[in-house]
């Protein structure tokens, strides 16, 4: 996990800025994630985490800067970028008129995954996440956690080079959360990069090689997890930065 040797970052964000109307949400944000690394992105509600993530995966346009996936610009080559990225949104809303199996087949069709590979991956991941017996049901009958697992399996279907997750642990049962952490670690070991946001700071601290803390649309601390935390826990660092940010604003 920690031995990334490739020179081209799998994800590179340069001078990113985004406004909603007149309100600037993110300004001049830069970061990069190398292949084989797990990058945690933390910050308070409304700091701009989901805004950046949605722009990275091509779901949202942005005003300034660049987002490069494996060296390609998402604005210039959106389809090629999307082909190597997988996205797990914070709210796992999927087509509830499809069955779980139909949804996974649909995603495999979209990413051009062959029959043998899709069968193997669907079986493997759904067994692992305890969803196998429910794939024949309509998604409308799924609980939040089951939908989360389904979206995750759909995201892993094409063996993405960059996995982007927005609050992936929300709604997962302890076993599924454990399995997800394992899967993320395995993917990173196989050379994929992982970029995720989370409010579960303990998990971020344990799982991530690098971490960035965002406040009011700007990164206030970033780097290797050990360097960011120092002798403190990530929670302590986060809370002290939040206090400083609050005092600065006040």
């Amino acid at each position: 996990m920690k031995s990334a040797g490739a020179r081209v970052p799998m994800l590179e964000v340069r001078g990113f800025s985004k406004s909603y109307g007149r309100k600037k949400v993110i300004e001049d944000l830069s970061l990069e994630v190398m292949p084989g690394r797990i990058f945690g992105f933390v910050g308070p509600n409304g700091a701009g985490k989901s805004t950046l993530i949605r722009s990275i995966v091509g779901a949202q346009r942005f005003d300034g800067g660049q987002v490069l996936i494996d060296g390609m610009s998402v604005t210039e080559h959106p389809v090629r970028c999307k082909a190597v990225v997988a996205y797990v949104p914070d709210n796992p809303d999927v087509y509830d008129y499809l069955t779980g199996g139909q949804y996974l087949s649909f995603m495999a069709d979209m990413f051009g995954v062959g029959k043998a590979v899709r069968e193997r991956r669907i079986r493997s991941y759904s067994d692992r996440l305890g969803l196998t017996g429910r794939l024949g049901e309509l998604v409308s009958a799924y609980s939040h956690g089951m939908r989360q697992k389904l979206v995750l399996i759909g995201a892993l279907m094409h063996d993405p080079k960059l996995l982007v997750l927005d609050e992936p642990f929300v709604g997962l049962d302890p076993q599924a959360a454990f399995d997800l952490k394992q899967i993320m670690a395995e993917l990173a070991r196989s050379g994929s990069a992982i970029f995720f946001s989370s409010h579960v700071l303990e998990v971020v601290e344990k799982l991530c090689d690098e971490v960035a803390i965002i406040q009011n649309g700007a990164i206030v601390r970033a780097g290797a997890t050990e360097a960011v935390c120092g002798d403190e826990s990530l929670e302590s660092v986060f809370l002290s930065l939040a206090r400083e940010g609050g005092e600065g604003r006040g």
Partner: protein, 548 residues
């Protein structure tokens, strides 16, 4: 009661996006809502004018005294249909159920607030239908003040019994839908069949009375009276109101009022008593719903996968299927009717018209039909524009559409293609059957296929373009985007205007030039323009980035 008032206020503010219209700071959104309100008023005016004309026509054939039962029957049907569409979402398995039920408010007040909003909507619809009917016909029936008061009361109370029945049916539908795998498709198809049957029946009832001679008028008057008697027998409240308004029977009015109030009270009481259990039954999944797990179908190319997904969405969303399916199904039915009846159909129509109306100079009814029928099929196709809300219907799952590695041309193109399959296939089949059945000349027969195909392409591309430009992903019910969105209205209007313009041009050409070939040329020219416009719109739409 203050809590009930607060609940009622929330329901009222939520109705038709009223609060959003008042409070939104987004000028574009406010304009959209204002446009929708204007459109609703226009539709209401059209309905009222149509009802006034129907009432006047009934009075002119001597059936004015049958109008009250007809009005109550029509109002009840409309109230039942509208309540049925809304009751499921308003009462059973609604999104904020937990939030509302956690409030320190008695259950009956929650139920009453929700039923009251349904009742208000149904009463408004009844008023739009019944007031013009009464105004156009009751003076001719010689009704006094007491009769008018009874008529007024009937309008207020008419929704009560249909609403209670609709709530019961809505619960059963919701329950079945939560248990049955293809319940949504079944509900949609059943609704579609019902609506088409209603349209056909209304078409049969609204033959122009002015074209009929004296004997025919008398016969029609008798037929209307028979229908009113049938309606009174089938729907007892219609008979009670008829007796109260026309014959001035106070007992009948009291019976109607008592039955309506009792039904409404009973509905509130029963639903309140079992509200939690009903919602638990609707929202709990059945134990044996799942099928054996599947581990991936045969790979499909992305366009096919997307088109299949779009068609599944249509089938699994009853309001979507019913709204968009009427035109294509009617078109197909017209084609089948022409095929079965053959050329004799036109002779029969010609014979039913007054002397001279079947032929305009050297132009025959056959010539006019050959020129105009393709545009009738086009009109039907233009009403099945699924692409006009298919982008919005991605809703909160739009992240899938936005993040799959497919260009806009594939994602949006698949929506256009699904529209072409959904509306074009039945319409073109119907048009081909009509061309064969009516033995039209080869050039005209080609127009039977070209014209609907061109209009379907135009509507589908226009719908997809408009919806991609003005998506509404924040809907709570599919009803909002299927029935009340600007792209749907605009795309429908575009296709309908094109069809009517084409119909007028080709028919005018037939009358003026007197030959079917000239009309075919006009149809071909208009179709070519429609296809060119469709291509230009598609080219623009496919370049638009999908995403927020």
């Amino acid at each position: 009661m203050a809590k009930l008032a607060a609940l009622l206020r929330v329901q009222a503010l939520g109705a038709f996006g009223l609060n959003a219209a008042i409070r939104s700071t987004d000028v574009r959104r406010r304009m959209t809502l204002a446009g929708m309100a204007l459109l609703f008023v226009l539709v209401g005016v059209v309905m009222a004018v149509y009802c006034y004309a129907t009432g006047a026509a009934m009075a002119s054939v001597g059936a004015a005294s049958s109008v009250p039962s007809f009005a109550v029957f029509a109002g009840s049907c409309a109230a039942a249909a509208a309540s049925l569409l809304k009751a499921g979402g308003a009462l059973f398995g609604f999104k904020d159920y937990d939030t509302v039920m956690a409030l320190p408010v008695p259950t009956w007040q929650v139920v009453l607030s929700r039923l009251a909003s349904l009742y208000a909507m149904a009463a408004l619809l009844c008023a739009v239908l019944m007031v013009p009917l009464y105004v156009a016909s009751l003076p001719a029936a010689g009704v006094g003040v007491a009769g008018w008061l009874a008529a007024l009361l009937s309008m207020v109370l008419v929704p009560a019994i249909p609403l209670a029945l609709a709530v019961a049916v809505a619960f059963l539908v919701s329950l079945v839908a939560s248990r049955m795998r293809h319940a949504q498709a079944v509900a949609g198809i059943a609704g579609l069949v019902l609506v088409v049957a209603l349209v056909v029946a209304m078409g049969g009832l609204s033959q122009p009375s002015s074209a009929l001679g004296g004997d025919a008028q008398a016969a029609l008057g008798q037929a209307v009276a028979s229908f009113a008697a049938f309606a009174s027998g089938l729907w007892l409240p219609a008979g009670w109101v008829q007796a109260a308004v026309i014959q001035g029977q106070p007992l009948a009015l009291a019976l109607f009022a008592a039955a309506s109030v009792a039904c409404a009270t009973l509905c509130v009481a029963v639903v309140s008593r079992f509200f939690e259990r009903l919602n638990a039954a609707v929202s709990s999944p059945a134990s044996s719903r799942g099928r054996r797990a599947t581990f991936g179908q045969q790979p499909r190319n992305p366009v096919r996968a997307l088109v299949e997904k779009e068609l599944r969405l249509v089938l699994s969303t009853p309001i979507y299927l019913m709204n968009m399916g009427i035109g294509p199904v009617l078109g197909f039915a017209v084609g089948c009717a022409c095929f079965v009846a053959g050329p004799s159909l036109l002779s029969t129509v010609a014979e039913s018209l007054p002397a001279g109306a079947g032929a305009l100079g050297s132009v025959t009814l056959e010539g006019l039909a050959a020129a105009g029928l393709p545009w009738v099929f086009a009109f039907c196709a233009a009403t099945g524009v699924t692409s006009s809300c298919s982008v919005s219907l991605e809703g909160s799952a739009r992240w899938i559409m936005e993040t799959v590695p497919q260009p806009t041309s594939v994602v949006l193109g698949s929506k256009v293609l699904a529209n072409l399959l959904f509306a074009g296939a039945p319409i073109l089949t119907g048009a081909a059957l009509a061309a064969v059945g009516l033995h039209v000349p080869p050039v005209s027969a080609a127009m039977f296929l070209l014209v609907p195909a061109a209009v379907t392409c135009f509507s589908a591309c226009l719908g997809a373009f408009l919806n991609a430009r003005m998506p509404n992903y924040g809907w709570k019910s599919a009803y909002e985007v299927v029935k009340r969105s600007v792209p749907v209205m605009a795309a429908l209007l575009g296709g309908i205007v094109l069809s009517i313009a084409g119909l007028a041009a080709s028919c005018a050409c037939t009358v003026l030039a007197g030959g079917a070939v000239d009309a075919a040329l006009v149809s071909a020219a208009v179709s070519a323009v429609a296809l060119a416009a469709a291509a230009a719109i598609a080219r623009t739409a496919f370049r638009m980035p999908l995403g927020d």
